[in-house]
């Protein structure tokens, strides 16, 4: 019953004109960001964080704005998958498989609105799951001491590469690089400067926002420059949308697929190391096994579209559970949301639920509201959003670069931060070429200091005895999961990754055959 009372309080916070307006603005901007070529949930939210921060919005309104952008971008990402067969981000890969063939059959409008409904179902159910599961996880987390937290942070880094990771050495490299960068600045416990090389600007440490915007947004600009990819992928393609409301029968036929996929997606989101990509992949694979009796999957079967969309949105909601309850995100996009919270001076974790219940429940209420708004925006206005695909990168990328500069300059007003951001942009471009994941770097800069202080607190409490790190059953379990999560991908990761890409390549090959 507590939950319902809490949720009612949350709605009381979220349902003010200002917050509703921000949710609407966020949902609208987010859908545009998701649909734009070269921008997705992570880098879209990344360039907006410093802005929300320097505009001086309060914690809850800023959080509502940015989570609406995040959810909106998840919705918007499907548009280019369906119309152009170009996935905006990895989770949207599976959406291409049946979404694009539907569009080719002249059912683009139905595909867009059906996937909108599937996204809605996935994320609404996942938000309910979040309400039920997060408080339970908080109860467990309240038993954690510093040693357990240190093990938990290690677990987060070890599993971040995920089951589909191809090169764990590169994930580990990225995590160590991020944590290493977090060490720069004055040590909070003894007051000595570390790795500052006498540069006064570095005494406060490297602002993680500068790192995030450089790595995610500027490196994208460099990628486009490298290929001089200035024209829009949509140029010269005719996009007929057709009817924008799916027939009721189609919704009824796909409801089973949506329900199953939502369940799988949510679980994949909650578990460390899985995330939205695996959520949508598993949802599609299972649905294919259950429903593909006539071999229609991959040729525009609505169930093959509804399954991955419900799955990846449910996973996005599920991923919020460990992020809010433990303060440890399990995926790239939730890492960016953690950055949002930290820049608002909110530390997620079990204490957040007891000390700032207004933030937690206000956020959860905002998620519900944003979902309804997205559904309302997406179905009638989908025609307008598809036009956004026509924006050529030669106009978009200068805007992305300049908004990044404005945001970072707005925080500190110093050119030094801009130089650091450019440096991170170049670093991000090189690392992306080398297939080094950027998310562990971000997470390292966000969590590095908390990880170190938990380690030092644990050892100080035990009077210098390092065995305390393995001293409780809880920490032993966490270490075991961390170890398994790191080693498992080395053994099975290649197989799963190959299957995920294989599914897409077969589909593309078949499409080529069909057009020949």
């Amino acid at each position: 019953m507590d939950t319902i009372a809490n949720l009612a309080d949350g709605f009381a916070i979220a349902l003010t004109w200002q917050n509703l307006g921000l949710a609407l603005l966020g949902a609208f901007l987010g859908t545009i960001i998701g649909a734009l070529p070269g921008l997705g949930p992570s880098n879209g939210v990344a360039i907006l964080i410093p802005l929300a921060f320097s505009l001086g919005l309060g914690a809850t309104p800023a959080l509502i704005l940015l989570t609406s952008v995040y959810y909106g971008a998840m919705y918007g990402g499907r548009i280019s998958s369906i119309l152009l067969n170009i996935p905006g981000d990895e989770p949207a890969m599976m959406t291409c498989l049946d979404g694009h063939p539907m569009a080719q059959k002249g059912m683009a409008g139905e595909a867009l609105s059906l996937s909108g409904i599937a996204s809605f179902v996935g994320s609404i159910v996942a938000t309910f799951g979040l309400i039920l599961l997060a408080p339970q996880l908080v109860k467990i987390a309240l038993l954690f001491g510093p040693a357990e937290y240190f093990a938990l942070f290690t677990l987060a880094f070890a599993t971040l590469g995920g089951v589909s990771s191809t090169n764990q050495a590169k994930s580990a490299f990225a995590a160590a690089l991020g944590i290493g960068l977090a060490m720069v600045g004055v040590d909070t416990q003894t007051g000595v400067p570390r790795f500052t090389f006498g540069e006064v600007h570095l005494y406060d440490g490297i602002d993680f926002l500068v790192a995030i915007v450089g790595l995610f947004a500027l490196s994208e600009v460099f990628l486009f420059l490298e290929h001089r990819h200035g024209s829009s992928d949509a140029e010269g393609k005719k996009m007929t949308i057709g009817r924008i409301v799916p027939p009721l029968k189609m919704i009824k036929d796909t409801s089973g697929a949506m329900a199953r996929s939502t369940g799988i997606g949510f679980l994949a989101g909650v578990l460390p190391g899985a995330g939205a990509s695996l959520g949508s992949f598993l949802a599609y694979a299972l649905e294919k096994k259950i429903s593909d009796k006539d071999g229609t999957f991959g040729k525009g079967d609505p169930r093959g579209l509804a399954a991955p969309e419900a799955g990846n949105n449910a996973a996005a909601g599920g991923a919020l559970v460990p992020m809010l309850a433990l303060g440890v995100p399990g995926s790239g996009t939730t890492a960016v949301l953690l950055a949002v919270l930290l820049s608002l001076n909110i530390t997620p974790g079990p204490l957040l639920f007891t000390q700032n219940p207004d933030v937690v429940w206000g956020l959860i209420a905002a998620l519900f509201i944003a979902n309804f708004m997205l559904l309302a925006l997406n179905i009638p206005m989908v025609g307008m959003f598809t036009r956004i695909l026509m924006v050529p990168p030669r106009v978009l990328m200068p805007i992305v670069a300049m908004v990044s500069f404005v945001g970072i300059y707005g925080i500190s007003g110093s050119s030094f931060d801009l130089y650091v951001m450019i440096g991170f942009g170049v670093l991000g471009w090189v690392l992306r070429k080398l297939d080094v994941p950027l998310v562990p770097i971000i997470l390292g800069t966000l969590l590095g200091n908390a990880m170190e202080s938990n380690l030092r607190r644990a050892i100080t409490i035990s009077d210098g005895d390092w065995s305390v790190l393995f001293g409780s059953p809880v920490s032993l379990v966490l270490w075991a999961v961390a170890l398994a999560g790191f080693v498992l991908p080395i053994v099975v990761g290649k197989v799963i990754k190959a299957r995920m890409h294989g599914a897409r390549q077969t589909a593309q090959a078949e499409e080529m055959d069909a057009t020949d």
């Binding site: 050495a169 290493g180 003894t190 000595v192 600009v221 670069a401 300049m402 801009l418 450019i422 009077d463």
Partner: protein
């Protein structure tokens, strides 16, 4: 040594050098007399160790090379970096609108907009951001000698 894997081998060696440098500068941290049981050096040394191990693994088991751009495209990225650094340097002196118009126009031009279109894009982006973020939302942007 197989040249198809050269990028990762070089990358791993740079990583090893970085780990070594990181460890050395961690050892150079001055301990204060008020230290806890762990001290400010230990955790950075652990991180240097992880960085070194990961780099060694990358050297020993490299992935195939990515497709690196030809020299002109590398020069293109270098030039863009230079323009951005100049932008960061000159922003407080020229003011937001002028500096941004130049930088945005340059990027638009290099991404394949025709010169006249690039000028228009640059001015449009600059004035647009100024109108939305400064005039409408009240964010403080760099003021130049002309007041904007």
């Amino acid at each position: 040594m197989n040249s198809r894997f050269l990028s990762d081998r070089i990358f791993g060696l740079i990583g090893l050098a970085l780990a070594l440098g990181y460890a050395l500068s961690a050892l150079a941290i001055k301990e204060s007399f008020l230290s806890d049981a762990v001290g400010p050096k230990t955790f950075p040394l652990i991180i240097a160790g992880v960085l070194g191990l990961a780099s060694a693994a990358i050297v020993l088991r490299p992935d195939p090379d990515p497709v690196w751009p030809a020299l002109p495209r590398l020069a293109e990225i270098g030039a863009a970096v230079l323009v951005m650094v100049l932008y960061a340097r000159l922003l407080p002196e020229l003011g937001f609108v002028i500096a941004t118009a130049f930088a945005a126009g340059y990027l638009a031009w290099r991404l394949g907009t025709r010169p006249l279109g690039a000028v228009l894009t640059g001015v449009g982006v600059s004035v647009g951001i100024y109108a939305v973020f400064h005039l409408a939302l009240g964010l403080s942007l760099a003021r130049g000698p002309l007041g904007f």
